[in-house]
Symmetry: C2
Subunit: 135 residues, 2 copies
């Protein structure tokens, strides 16, 4: 079983021999912030998929369609605006949402199948199993 951070080397780099020590020092400093941000992103994504898992069960239980174009259009427009305010490329923000929604819909299908087969929509165990659905 993997254990977060146990064997992670924050200075892992293929550039070690190729750059001046003070440049590498600065690189590691910035990378340590990137690593902190990535940990936060992973945990937020986990929380987001818990929420979409609830949405998926709700939709499957009440035979609602997985896709919701009206919702999706509102989300895209909001995320683009938020991105602009945060000085993030709005095109990237839209691609990011599409990337997440692709994953959500992929797993929604699994939940729907599970419920049709008499289950409770819980994710199947195993590495490839997701615990998310549409939104």
């Amino acid at each position: 079983m993997e254990n977060s951070g146990q064997s992670f080397d924050p200075h892992a780099s293929s550039l070690s021999g190729t750059a001046q020590p003070e440049v590498l020092e600065e690189l590691y400093r910035v990378r340590s912030s990137i690593d902190n941000i990535d940990a936060a992103l992973i945990h937020l994504l986990a929380e987001r998929f818990k929420a979409t898992q609830r949405v998926g069960v709700l939709k499957a239980t009440h035979s609602l369609p997985p896709a919701d174009p009206g919702r999706e259009a509102a989300q895209i427009s909001r995320l683009r605006a938020l991105a602009r305010d945060a000085q993030l490329d709005p095109v990237f923000a839209e691609k990011f949402l599409a990337f997440i929604i692709d994953e959500v819909i992929r797993h929604h299908e699994a939940i729907s199948e599970n419920i049709k087969a008499g289950g409770d929509g819980s994710p199947v165990s195993g590495e490839d199993a997701g615990d998310e659905t549409d939104d």
Copy 2:
């Protein structure tokens, strides 16, 4: 100019007429959490790209290669472990990192071109311009 949230309807949905009111109520409740998480994700991504922008300038200034396979391998392994701890599909976490790094490298090239042309690596203005680089 877009303004975040100004015209966002958190109840926007193509399902409005098709579901019982109490089901929609529950759907909106969960979606409001998803919307909060998405705002946090966008702001964290903006901060992450600020950091990779600094890495890109550093690398371009010191003629370091954009890719760093040793760093990337360490990141993948750490994010997979973090994902497991957070009950997120590690396969998805790896895809997510690849998605981000693709964008980062795409913009790294722009920074490198900018510096070669005598600039300071600042992002070009305009909707398609990113302010990020490798990491």
